[in-house]
């Protein structure tokens, strides 16, 4: 039904789901994670409550697209991660390399999380995903 299924294989989706589970287990203070296409379609999510993976995916797409434009505009090189600091936690957004279609990883963390730890876990997750995709 959804479009990403044409570009992402079944096994790639399984790998993404596995990675999200591992990420959530590794870091207790990570309370949610979403993988989506760069144009805002949801691919996989680990969310609780009423959070909408569809809506977060669209928002992640807008944020990263604007982030990239800001990096270009200010000649600061390639856009890396986007960290949103909120009063109740942090939201990390980063792209996941893929030979055919770049993806976005969004990670929600509780306020208690040390920034370094959460970023490290999220980056390891995206790098591991990138390595798997480059082999397929």
């Amino acid at each position: 039904m959804t479009v990403h299924e044409q570009c992402l294989s079944r096994s790639e989706e399984a790998v993404i789901n596995h990675h999200l589970d591992a990420l959530m287990q590794q870091e207790q203070e990570i309370c949610g994670a979403v993988v989506s296409t760069v144009d805002g379609f949801h691919v996989a999510a680990r969310l609780t409550g009423s959070l909408s993976a569809e809506k977060l995916s669209a928002m992640a797409s807008s944020l990263l697209a604007i982030n990239e434009a800001v990096c270009r505009e200010s000649s600061m090189g390639e856009c890396r991660d986007l960290v949103v600091e909120a009063s109740q936690g942090r939201i990390l957004l980063m792209d996941v390399p893929h030979p055919a279609q770049k993806l976005i990883l969004t990670v929600l963390c509780r306020a208690k999380t040390t920034m370094g730890k959460a970023l490290w876990s999220a980056r390891s997750c995206r790098e591991s995903l990138g390595r798997v995709f480059s082999r397929t």
């Binding site: 809506k55 669209a58 807008s62 697209a65 434009a69």
Partner: protein, 186 residues
């Protein structure tokens, strides 16, 4: 010279030409936030806007218009609300090759009804050469039926002159709306 902020919105369905239109007229390097498009069933093009477009154009009278383009897809509706804040009028671009373009026009007009307030808009219908129907009259009738009285013209957004015409008409609609409202106060 007029020091006011003129914030105008370009909206409409995916592929209607919002990004093209702003790039065609902007006097500053247009800001573009297009990313890879994975939804070729909706519109077969390489990229799609998921953030916003931005450009500027100066009218002969010296007024600087700030043009903001929206993403077209409804999943980015939250961007419509963000971009619509403080806008004075809306250019709705329509692709006449779509299954129900009149419906598209009405949907986007309604999504921006707060800004449009019945008159602060212009509809630009594209690809009329290859797709002559529905006619501009059909748009007129459908819009009037939802209480919106705005000009509908055919426009090829790849042509700078066409986009300038849309912007001119919208500017006129805004001026007219403000004359009416200030007249009502006086």
């Amino acid at each position: 010279m007029d020091q006011r902020e003129y914030k105008l919105i370009f909206t409409g369905s995916m592929g209607a030409g919002k990004t093209t239109a702003i790039a065609a007229v902007s006097e500053v390097a247009p800001l573009c936030t297009d990313v890879q498009n994975t939804d070729h069933s909706e519109f077969a093009k390489a990229t799609t806007t998921t953030g916003l477009d931005y450009g500027e154009v100066t009218l002969p009278g010296g007024q600087v218009l700030r043009l903001f383009g929206t993403p077209g897809q409804t999943r980015f509706r939250f961007m419509w609300d963000i971009l619509g804040k403080g806008a004075l009028g809306v250019v709705v671009l329509v692709d006449n090759s779509r299954p129900d373009p009149v419906r598209d026009a009405c949907d986007y007009v309604q999504a921006f009804s707060n800004v449009i307030a019945g008159t602060r808009a212009v509809i630009g219908v594209g690809r009329c050469d290859a797709y002559p129907t529905p006619t501009l009259e059909e748009y007129d009738d459908a819009l009037k039926a939802i209480g919106v009285n705005v000009p509908v013209i055919s426009a090829d957004v790849r042509q700078r002159e066409h986009v300038l015409t849309l912007v001119d008409i919208l500017f006129y609609q805004i001026e007219a709306a403000e004359t009416v409202s200030s007249g009502a106060v006086a």
